[in-house]
Symmetry: C2
Subunit: 320 residues, 2 copies
């Protein structure tokens, strides 16, 4: 279960950061989900192993351009690369109307169906490996978080018992783990004897723009990881005034109270420099965040690749 | 009068080439025009000296996404960077309707006016340094070429005569060149005596997608430079079938018959590799083009920067 950040800038792209987009892979196979699709997301994908053919669904958190203007180009390019499978788009209803206008006015004929699900009326939906739910947030326009929960969680193999019974490692272990009894040398081995109780399903919450992190209290109750915007540091947020965004301290205070194991911040105002010698810098934002939070804290950069293992531990991978 | 290529790929971006966009600067000052605006054009601009504040007009050749999907993001970013001056958009009427839908559905409120001019009804318009005219082309959707002609061409100073008369180099020379008589030490010096007949105005034609270059015969009669798509080589164009595009040979044959001094080809199918060791390569396309044309021929790459001097000579500059 991997996360690849395709854009981490708020509002406008910079030379180092594209606007919002994050990919979530399925635990098995090459399927993946795209959450937000700012302009240039398809360009970023060219530098990853993610393929439009394997895209299971696109989810848009809200209608602001830095979260959706890459959608028409991505859909057009997927068509040109031969995609024929229907594609689910979970988004505020305005996105469906906008894409209809795009298709009508720019002669965009897609050879595959778009299956729209309006976030406003989404209760829950299961696609591929995940059960997906949404939570309304607080922003200048309706904005949502999406919660991804593994819906099929295999039990843990009792390796000692398997070895003691003389069952060789390989396909038989996999069948037992998936709940099937197996035959070996005329004898039947029962799955229940070799598989422990199920582990907790992994759960990730990916939030759109939001000035009230506590709205995620329920959604984050069992989550191992929250991905949330931290557009500003506190001082600059106060100068900028109420624009519907969170500052780093506000998000990390919520995460700390919630006891969240891991938090990745993203969607930084372009004013924050990567180079800590220039103020304001992302290292100032990181310091503010770290002061309030004792869990695993990351500030996302474009092409950062994170892995959430079966125990819910977050680690960073080196390849994109 | 400079041209900077922001994207030279057809249909989809590649790692080396963005989709269509070309900047044309004014001879004086920092004003410029953007012709086509594929997705990611604003990202490309971050790597140039061109500023959204100095943009005089955007011209779109046709409604296909690889020529216009960067428009909403560019307009939004210009707003966020503080632009307040009205912006002229010259485009097929469908673009105006599409942008209205974008603004309505994605909560895009621009703090400056968009002055739309529908290409379908454009006779000619003068903006900044240029008189702009359009020519209908042949493509799968209505597509246009835009012709830019310098409308104020100063005469050439007679430097010998100026020096002989004892008029010092400086502001007086500029006034004489712009047609004003001047006073010096109680004596009047007439502009007509110190300025030669006007040079020919520079003229550039920038064409959209088009399978019939001869439609540009009239528009190119006095042009020093044509920028035209050459999506394919002839062999691949035949395999692909009739899709409304030109191959390199077709464009260069037209340019040769027309006696065009210079031609820049662009909008190459992503199948053409930059590396000539991989076929099909752009060097094959270049060879096909060069076989038919004896003028100055260039194949555009992203960030190529060309200068058209007052004599209509095309040279390539090193900086973007």
């Amino acid at each position: 279960m991997d996360l690849i950040f395709l854009g981490t800038s708020s509002g406008v792209p910079t030379k180092q950061r594209n606007v919002s987009g994050v990919a979530l892979t399925e635990p098995q196979g090459r399927g993946w989900f795209l959450i937000d699709c700012g302009e240039g997301t398809q360009h970023q994908l060219l530098h990853t192993r993610l393929s439009a053919a394997q895209l299971k669904a696109i989810l848009i958190t809200h209608v602001h351009g830095d979260h959706c203007y890459g959608l028409p180009g991505l859909l057009a390019s997927a068509a040109m690369s031969g995609r024929q499978a229907p594609l689910t788009i979970i988004a505020p209803a305005g996105i469906a109307e906008w894409l209809e206008a795009v298709q009508a006015h720019t002669a965009l004929a897609l050879p595959y169906a778009l299956d729209f699900v309006a976030t406003e009326t989404l209760d829950e939906i299961t696609i591929g490996a995940y059960r997906i739910q949404s939570t309304p947030l607080s922003h200048r326009v309706p904005s949502y978080a999406y919660q991804f929960t593994e819906h099929a969680v295999e039990g843990q193999l009792k390796v000692q018992a398997l070895k003691a019974a003389g069952i060789p490692a390989g396909p038989l272990w996999g069948q037992l783990q998936r709940g099937h009894d197996v035959q070996l040398n005329g004898q039947t081995y029962c799955s229940a004897d070799y598989v422990d109780a199920q582990r907790a399903p992994r759960q990730v919450v990916i939030a759109g723009d939001n000035d009230t992190p506590s709205l995620l209290t329920e959604a984050c109750r069992h989550a191992q990881l929250l991905i949330h915007e931290a557009t500003y540091t506190q001082d600059i947020a106060q100068k900028v005034g109420d624009v519907g965004h969170s500052d780093a301290a506000r998000v990390t205070q919520f995460a700390e109270q919630q006891g969240l194991p891991a938090l990745i911040l993203t969607h930084f105002s372009p004013r924050y420099h990567l180079d800590p010698r220039h103020s304001p810098s992302l290292s100032e934002l990181e310091a503010e965040a770290g002061a309030a939070y004792t869990g695993t804290l990351k500030l996302a950069q474009d092409f950062d690749h994170y892995h959430l293992d079966k125990n819910g531990q977050l680690t960073q991978k080196t390849e994109t």
